[in-house]
């Protein structure tokens, strides 16, 4: 046990029963007070606090990665990685709660003020409450399974399936061969798609699978060659670009250099 770990163990011993419930309640209260204090602070002070917390949070993983490790591949911060992982999951859960609050606020106002389309807002709110109650209180009942499997899943699948119809319609209307590049794209797409389906593969199934130059003419082999030899390098190049861009964005977010219209406006207000 390293010094940081032993200090944390002494400062925050494992709690059970009532003590644990009290600690959780205390944490929730502290969070609420923290949010209220943040809201009351001037924009610039709030921005400084958020930037500091963001930097410290990012610093943990950076230090854990870069600090020298021992023979067990661990350093002074490694012990905290699972706990920090759990904290990020809790934070993610809280963002879901924020989303729910936002939906209630916007659609609740629509219903109360009887705005245009208030019936849809009402339906959304009722559905949300029914699904939440069913999931929390009646998870192992037919009621929940029916709502989840028969209603929600069916809607979800149907929504996505509708895309197939739009794709067919869009491909017919928009896929026009007007240039050499479009022709190349069309031919490559045709070969790759034919190589992926039994009907396409059947067209050249009489050619040897391997061991002969003729096998190179099989549609499935041409399709595989296009995917592995032509597509993969292109994807790699795109991946390099995305990786460098992602690194730049990550640094900007970590150091709070990223500018957001809402954030800047709030900071300028004070």
């Amino acid at each position: 046990m390293n010094p940081i770990q032993s200090f944390l163990s002494r400062a925050f011993p494992a709690l059970h029963g009532g003590a644990l419930a009290g600690a959780v309640a205390g944490c929730v209260l502290a969070c609420i007070v923290g949010v209220v204090v943040l809201q009351a602070l001037p924009g610039k002070a709030r921005k400084a606090i958020i930037a500091g917390v963001t930097f410290l949070a990012g610093l943990f993983y950076a230090l854990e990665f870069f600090l020298p490790a021992n023979a067990q591949d661990e350093n002074i911060l490694t012990f905290a990685v699972p706990t920090v992982g759990n904290v990020t999951n809790v934070l993610g859960g809280m963002t879901l709660g924020l989303g729910v609050l936002s939906l209630i606020r916007i659609h609740g106002a629509n219903v109360v003020k009887v705005k245009s389309g208030w019936e849809n807002s009402m339906l959304l709110l009722v559905s949300m409450v029914v699904m939440a109650v069913a999931g929390i209180k009646y998870e192992h009942t037919l009621f929940y399974r029916s709502l989840f499997r028969d209603v929600l899943n069916s809607f979800d699948a149907a929504m996505f399936a509708v895309l197939a119809f739009f794709i067919v319609s869009a491909a017919y209307r928009a896929f026009r061969i007007k240039s050499a590049e479009a022709t190349l794209l069309m031919v490559a797409a045709l070969v790759v798609m034919l190589g992926q389906i039994p009907i396409g593969q059947y067209l050249t199934h009489w050619l040897p699978v391997k061991g002969s130059y003729l096998s190179l003419l099989r549609l499935d082999n041409i399709s595989n060659w296009l995917l592995t030899t032509v597509n993969a390098p292109a994807q790699r190049a795109i991946g390099f670009g995305l990786g460098i861009g992602g690194l730049a964005i990550a640094l900007r977010i970590w150091l709070s250099l990223e500018r957001g219209a809402y954030f800047e406006a709030k900071a300028d207000e004070s």
Binding site: P82, G85, I199
Partner: protein, 278 residues
């Protein structure tokens, strides 16, 4: 030709929708039995499971909801079947969409009833986690400490025989992810370098092309290319289930797509010619 060209560029979209619907329904009712060439990446996925040692755990990660279940469900089903046929113990985990854990649980329960798999002894559900990066980094160090309890009974993982001898990702033989999104980057970036476990990926068809660069490097051992990959896997298992049947409507829909693209382009050239003559 001039009379033919113009109407071909103006086929009412309802006819197109009708043609697609008819072809999918006919394809499901009357499957066409044609041989399907098994791709090298599907073969490597199958071999990774086939050669997995029985003393190690297989981690099955799911990140799909009902929207992509047309492809991801058969993929997950066929691999779970293979795991159970080989009597390999496995753990489910879900990211990205909260539906994923329930849908995977249902699938596993279906197969477990057939293969007499016992929950807690032969398989377990580790549940849904919202943040993949933080969770994976924790799992690299300690799975029990990161995930703590299962999602079915909410009991500590250490109490389950299926988790015996499993400390971190080094104790896994295969990591198989079934996904509707680009989650593989988190696995490749945070986990693959820390374990000898074979990382296999089963995405939807539309995502598959971007994985070839990682297949090329060996960071992803094997891949199932959408529902076609699932049909290939079924073929390697010498089975003919729903997936093998479902490949017929997929094939016919793509043929319809080619025909419509051809008609649209023929119509365009016919129109141009008509305009040139007038």
């Amino acid at each position: 030709m001039s009379n033919l060209g113009h109407p071909l560029t103006r086929i009412n979209r309802h006819w197109l929708y009708g043609a697609l619907l008819a072809i999918v329904v006919i394809g499901l009712i009357v499957p066409i039995s044609l041989p399907l060439a098994v791709s090298p990446e599907a073969t490597r996925f199958y071999e990774a499971i086939e050669s997995a040692p029985k003393d190690k755990l297989v981690l099955v990660s799911t990140l799909w909801s009902a929207s992509t279940q047309g492809e991801n469900r058969p993929q997950t089903q066929v691999v779970l079947k293979h795991l159970m046929k080989r009597h390999l113990r496995f753990a489910l985990i879900a990211f990205g969409d909260a539906q994923a854990t329930t849908l995977a649980q249902e699938l596993a329960e279906e197969q477990a009833a057939i293969y007499k798999y016992e929950y807690g002894k032969d398989w377990i559900n580790l549940g849904y986690r919202q943040d993949i990066a933080g969770t994976l980094k924790g799992m690299v160090r300690n799975i029990n400490e990161t995930l703590k309890t299962d999602s079915v009974n909410r009991r500590p993982l250490a109490e389950y025989p299926v988790m015996a001898g499993v400390r971190n990702v080094k104790d896994l033989s295969v990591i198989a992810e079934f996904s509707a999104s680009g989650n593989y980057k988190s696995w490749v970036g945070l986990v693959v370098g820390s374990t000898d476990a074979a990382f296999c990926y089963a995405p939807t068809s539309v995502m598959a092309p971007e994985l070839y660069t990682y297949l090329d490097s060996g960071q992803i051992r094997g891949m199932l290319f959408g529902i076609k990959g699932a049909a290939e896997y079924e073929q390697m298992m010498n089975e003919k289930g729903f997936t093998t049947r479902a490949i017929t409507p997929v094939s016919l829909a793509l043929v319809l797509l080619f025909v419509l693209i051809g008609l649209g382009n023929y119509g365009m050239y016919a129109t141009k010619k008509m305009e040139g003559n007038s």
